[in-house]
């Protein structure tokens, strides 16, 4: 009889017994009435071809319940519902608030493994339709994230057009990505000089000596002598650092490949960091 230790089971058993006893009792009462009952009481005056009707008052309990329902209905219609109305948006807001609080406390200090796992999840949902499930950019349809960063054509295109001029995006001199150094003007270098720098940068900051020299004179004042963007003053040209990924997610990107839409407000700071961690892991 182990199952009887559960009080819900006890309650259910009690209820079943009550229903059984009531059913037997009521059935017995009506059978008795059918067998022995005699019509009694006062007849109404009307009759239809000799068939009459007794004067039966409505049962007290029924009448009280009927009047009670009307009173409750008036209260509900004019006071209860308008003052305490259920709001779907209200429930949504509370759900989101509670979720954000849980999310923030759970991922206050994420480890690298946490970030990688979360980043992969976010990447597969939000990024993979264009950048591909494996991050290769689906044969040039989007940036190939598994390679070491920008290629020669991309560098040349940015040098030629500047950072804001591709597409019709005007960012009030802020550049596309909103870095403190602002917009990169078009045509800083041209011709063979531009090609040399493009080869040097696309090759991972080595190889082309002429490019290295030109880089130091034309580009290093913003992007830093080593190309890492001077601690977030300008975009990092060497790797996908957290700030670069966050900036691209916030502002979107227009480049030689095409347009990436902005994901502003769709990801939390931790999620942006997680995506950056995951994207870096693709090129390792």
């Amino acid at each position: 009889m182990n199952w009887l230790s559960d009080n819900v089971n006890q309650l259910a058993l009690l209820g079943a017994a009550a229903i059984l006893i009531l059913t037997i009792g009521v059935t017995w009462k009506y059978f008795k009435q059918i067998k022995e009952g005699k019509s009694e009481g006062e007849l109404k005056e009307e009759n239809w071809d000799g068939i009459g009707e007794y004067k039966n008052n409505s049962p007290v309990g029924w009448s009280l319940a009927f009047i009670g329902t009307m009173i409750w209905g008036i209260w509900y219609w004019f006071f209860g519902y308008p003052l305490d109305a259920y709001s779907q948006i209200g429930e949504y807001n509370e759900e989101v608030k509670a979720y954000q609080a849980r999310f923030e406390s759970k991922w206050a200090n994420p480890t690298k493994e946490d970030l990688l796992g979360m980043g992969e999840g976010v990447y597969l949902v939000q990024c993979s339709p264009c950048h591909g499930i494996d991050g290769t950019g689906i044969e040039g349809k989007a940036q190939d994230l598994t390679k070491r960063f920008i290629n020669k054509e991309q560098v040349l295109s940015v040098i030629e057009h500047g950072s804001a001029a591709l597409g019709d995006k005007v960012m009030d001199g802020q550049g596309q990505l909103g870095y403190p150094m602002g917009e990169m003007p078009p045509g800083l270098l041209s011709g063979a000089d531009a090609v040399a720098v493009a080869e040097y940068v696309a090759n991972g900051f080595k190889g082309n000596d002429k490019g290295a020299e030109l880089y130091q004179s034309a580009c290093a004042s913003c992007h830093g002598p080593d190309g890492t963007g001077m601690d977030g003053m300008a975009p990092n040209l060497k790797e996908y650092d957290d700030k670069l990924i966050a900036a691209v997610l916030e502002h979107g990107k227009v480049g030689i490949i095409g347009t990436m839409p902005s994901f502003k407000g769709r990801l939390t700071k931790v999620q942006e960091k997680a995506v950056a961690t995951y994207i870096r892991s693709l090129s390792e």
């Binding site: 948006i89 949504y92 939000q126 499930i133 689906i138 349809k141 095409g258 347009t259 902005s262 769709r266």
Partner: protein, 227 residues
């Protein structure tokens, strides 16, 4: 009182009408409330987008894709802000859909681009492995029916007072110009050329330049406008 009503069928019928009409009022009146007015910034579809919307309806996109983001965290995470009544003010008919075999599209313009749509509609598996969506290659050669779309725009402008050729946001400029069919078609061709160039498909650009708008271009213009 009730026995009197039972003896006077006319007034009984009036009473029944009032009771039933009340239930109707409860459902109809909220539709005229402020929240059902067009939201700030809502604009009617221009000719190209309206033609694209007709392509969307013609090819039954709404059989698999909804356009209604419900206020649940799981949905707003994936699709963006939940949908508001007033956003559908110029949708005739609305395309909420009732089944999501594919994802919701109500804000697809926020996170997809013209070239992505073109790749996807040409061969869905090339961008979404495992997708069960069929290819819609006929849209790349079929010409868009601008005449019907224009007739629809003129009709809703005249009958429902949809604000074409009007300054909606009060900045002194006409927000969605319509004008005569020739003017509207010229504007649609200009916009279509921009979309065709974004898709990076030379055949679409050539077709638009020759004065014909492929259905896919109109559809992409419509999808890009869903924000």
């Amino acid at each position: 009182m009730f026995s009197w009503l039972e003896k006077n069928p006319f007034f009984f019928a009036v009473g029944v009408f009032i009771v039933i009409a009340f239930a109707g009022l409860v459902e109809i009146v909220p539709d005229f409330a402020q929240q059902s007015r067009p939201v700030a910034g809502a604009k009617p579809y221009d000719l190209l987008k309206l033609a694209g919307r007709n392509v969307y309806i013609k090819d039954s996109c709404n059989a698999c894709h909804s356009q209604l983001i419900r206020p649940f965290k799981s949905e707003t995470d994936r699709y963006g802000m939940y949908s508001l009544n007033g956003e559908y003010a110029y949708d005739r008919p609305f395309l909420w859909g009732s089944k999501r075999t594919g994802p919701d599209l109500h804000r697809v313009g926020n996170y997809r681009t013209s070239d992505w749509h073109a790749n996807h509609m040409w061969d869905p598996i090339s961008v979404v492995p495992g997708s069960i969506m069929p290819a819609y290659k006929h849209m790349f050669t079929n010409e868009t029916d601008l005449e019907t779309a224009y007739a629809e725009a003129v009709t809703v402008k005249k009958v429902f007072n949809v604000p074409y050729d009007k300054d909606i946001d009060g900045d002194g400029k006409i927000d969605v110009p319509l004008g005569s069919f020739e003017e509207a078609k010229e504007r649609a061709l200009k916009e279509a050329l921009k979309v065709a160039e974004e898709t990076k498909r030379e055949d679409l650009v050539q077709m638009v330049k020759s004065g014909k708008i492929p259905e896919i271009v109109a559809l992409i213009a419509y999808l890009n406008g869903l924000k």
